[in-house]
């Protein structure tokens, strides 16, 4: 005879827990932020979608280690920007043959008939150039210029002093201007 019990067995809650619920809330609350940030860096909705999946699954795999003190907005900014930049770098390596950028016609004007096309082209080049920046500089640039996050908040997100954020940002801007020199001349 086995002491199998009666009804009370089924009073035992099943698999989903309070923590699962809070993970679900996190995803629902911040999913949009993650997709938009990734889309700004990658300029591609389906890649942004992939970043979203990777970022949240990585969080889920470590879910038991978070202690309820996490500033999720900041955490997700950092994780998303990193993941998106990483993906952008991979994309450069995988998809764009070396030298391809130099062979395309140069010159950008803002009021020609192809202005929109050219703006788009410049955006593509800028996105690619950001991905080639040193990692911290790229993060500072994305958070400051694409995400429009205040410097003090960027410092918190990146875990460094505000003055350091500014240094990264200045270097990034200088480097990008140098690299995109010929496309930025009016």
């Amino acid at each position: 005879m086995q002491p199998g019990l009666g009804l009370e067995m089924f009073l035992l809650p099943g698999s989903t827990t309070v923590s699962d619920q809070s993970f679900e809330n996190l995803v629902n609350e911040h999913g949009g932020q993650v997709v938009r940030t990734a889309a700004r860096v990658l300029r591609d909705a389906s890649l942004a979608h992939d970043v979203h999946q990777e970022v949240f699954l990585a969080i889920w795999r470590r879910w038991h280690r978070y202690d309820g003190q996490v500033n999720w907005t900041a955490y997700l900014y950092r994780a998303t920007v990193r993941k998106a930049l990483e993906m952008a770098r991979r994309r450069i390596v995988c998809r764009v043959p070396a030298g391809a950028l130099k062979e395309t016609p140069r010159g950008v004007t803002t009021n020609g008939p192809d202005a929109a096309l050219q703006t788009d082209e410049l955006q593509q080049r800028l996105a690619a150039a950001v991905a080639r920046l040193p990692r911290r500089e790229a993060e500072a640039f994305v958070l400051s210029r694409l995400e429009r996050v205040e410097t003090a908040e960027i410092a918190r997100i990146m875990g460094c002093a505000e003055s350091t954020v500014r240094v990264y940002l200045h270097r990034a801007v200088a480097r990008l201007a140098r690299e995109l020199h010929e496309y930025l001349d009016q």
Binding site: P3, L5, F10, L11, L12, T16, T17, W60, H64, D185
Partner: protein
């Protein structure tokens, strides 16, 4: 770019608007006369304008929604590797429930169930081996066995559960908590019948289980005997230690995900204490102690009569009318409950409770209850479904729903022969039912 008293860095700061008015005025004055610097600032501004234009991305709620849904699904299916976290947080969940919301009573019962289930895991595994064979007879000469089982939760906010467990070799089993939750079981010819008392609501549940297989390895006596025989296969011997004023020898064995330590009194060779730790549930330890053999246990101790002021829980009131429809409802509920919409791996016997707990640990359910069922309906439906099965005589039914997902009208998952009927009823994976002659039954 600016080989004079204006640095490139300053131009960047100027373009970013970071300079003080005074300094910005100086730069402005400078670039009016310096063509290279004017161009450099122009390029910086184009760069920043371009970045600005990139910060506007179209809102696509559809993509966000689909991404959210997909990641939650993926998280669920990944749960197999997360059992450690799962159980931990389940324990925390109980703790939170207990800390006083309207579910407290229910949760208290759930804690008891959890503890009993962990206790049940003692009763699995085979009881073979020489020591077992030699000792089990001797043990069976004892007429009663009592011990206490303390389950630590590992969660600060959640109480430790202590249960007193008693067996009598007349086929009686009783488990009681300090706050009065009592379950008594009495062996019947084919299974067991029993009663559970729920003190906070002064209610009781009477239940009967037929066709419970007689499995000697799961005999409670065998379990205790396995613990007593553990020193022979210990992979670690712990030095003498004083526990409650007695000097005891410790022996430890690691098996699968459990570490069992027994403490034996060297003078009497008696088992005094057993400690179980489960790798999957850190901090949740089970301690068995106060073993007593042959204590006198009166019949009244195992009474199946509820106390006078207790009322039966509604669920049993109409259990006699349980039918095929209830069983189908049970199956439907289960497929709503499982993440992959599959039917239960088994439906026979009390094993299903244990399997449900295991599945919960592995994250195979979408929630604590199936969506749209909830705490009030789900236990009733499950209970009635299982009552239906327990009443079918052996050999008159067959279940084939293991690993089958809900939906295919061509896949039979269950067939049975109603009493007195010449034909069989076949339930398919979309839960439609048809009649079949015995020779046309699924293979």
């Amino acid at each position: 770019m600016s080989p004079h008293n204006v640095t490139n860095e300053q131009l960047v700061q100027f373009a970013l608007g970071e300079l003080s008015c005074e300094k910005a005025g100086e730069i402005e004055a400078h670039i009016r006369q310096c063509e290279p610097c004017r161009q450099a600032v122009g390029r910086l501004r184009s760069l920043l304008d371009c970045a600005d234009s990139m910060s506007a991305v179209p809102e696509d709620e559809h993509i966000v929604e689909s991404a959210n849904r997909k990641v939650l699904l993926a998280a669920r299916t990944e749960n197999k590797d997360q059992s450690r976290y799962r159980v931990q947080s389940s324990v925390a969940h109980f703790g939170r429930l207990i800390m006083g919301n309207r579910m407290a009573k229910l949760a208290a019962a759930a804690v008891v169930a959890l503890a009993v289930i962990l206790g049940l895991s003692l009763f699995t595994g085979d009881g073979t081996g020489k020591v077992y064979a030699r000792m089990v007879d001797q043990l069976h000469r004892a007429h009663t066995l009592t011990y206490s089982m303390v389950t630590m939760t590992g969660v600060e906010s959640m109480p430790t559960v202590r249960m007193d467990i008693a067996y009598r070799n007349t086929g009686h089993f009783r488990v009681a908590t300090a706050d009065g939750y009592i379950t008594v079981l009495e062996a019947t010819e084919t299974g067991a019948k029993g009663i559970s008392l729920v003190p906070p609501t002064k209610s009781y549940v009477v239940f009967e289980m037929a066709n419970v297989p007689d499995d000697p390895a799961k005999d409670p006596w065998a379990t205790v005997e396995r613990l007593r025989a553990l020193p022979a296969r210990a992979d670690k011997v712990l030095g003498p230690k004083e526990i409650d004023g007695r000097t005891l020898d410790g022996f430890q064995v690691h098996e699968d995900d459990a570490t069992t330590t027994v403490w034996i009194d060297p003078k009497t060779s008696q088992l005094v204490r057993a400690e179980l730790q489960f790798a999957g549930t850190p901090g949740m330890d089970v301690i068995l102690s106060d073993f007593q053999f042959d204590a006198v246990l009166e019949d009244s101790f195992f009474s199946l009569q509820p106390p006078e002021e207790y009322t039966p829980v509604q669920v049993t009131a109409d259990a006699s009318e349980v039918g095929e429809r209830d069983f189908i409802e049970f199956l439907r509920l289960w497929t709503n409950w499982t993440a992959d919409a599959s039917f239960p791996p088994t439906i026979g016997g009390p094993d299903i409770a244990k399997i449900a707990v295991q599945m919960a640990r592995e994250g195979k359910f979408v929630g604590p209850y199936a969506p749209a069922y909830g705490a009030d309906r789900q236990p009733q439906i499950m209970y009635r479904g299982l009552v239906f099965i327990s009443r079918l005589p052996g050999g008159t039914w067959r279940y084939a729903g293991q690993n089958v997902p809900f939906g295919d009208p061509a896949v039979p998952i269950f067939w049975y022969q109603p009493q007195g009927s010449a034909t069989w009823r076949v339930i398919y994976a979309d839960l439609h039912v048809s009649e079949a002659k015995p020779e046309n039954l699924p293979k």
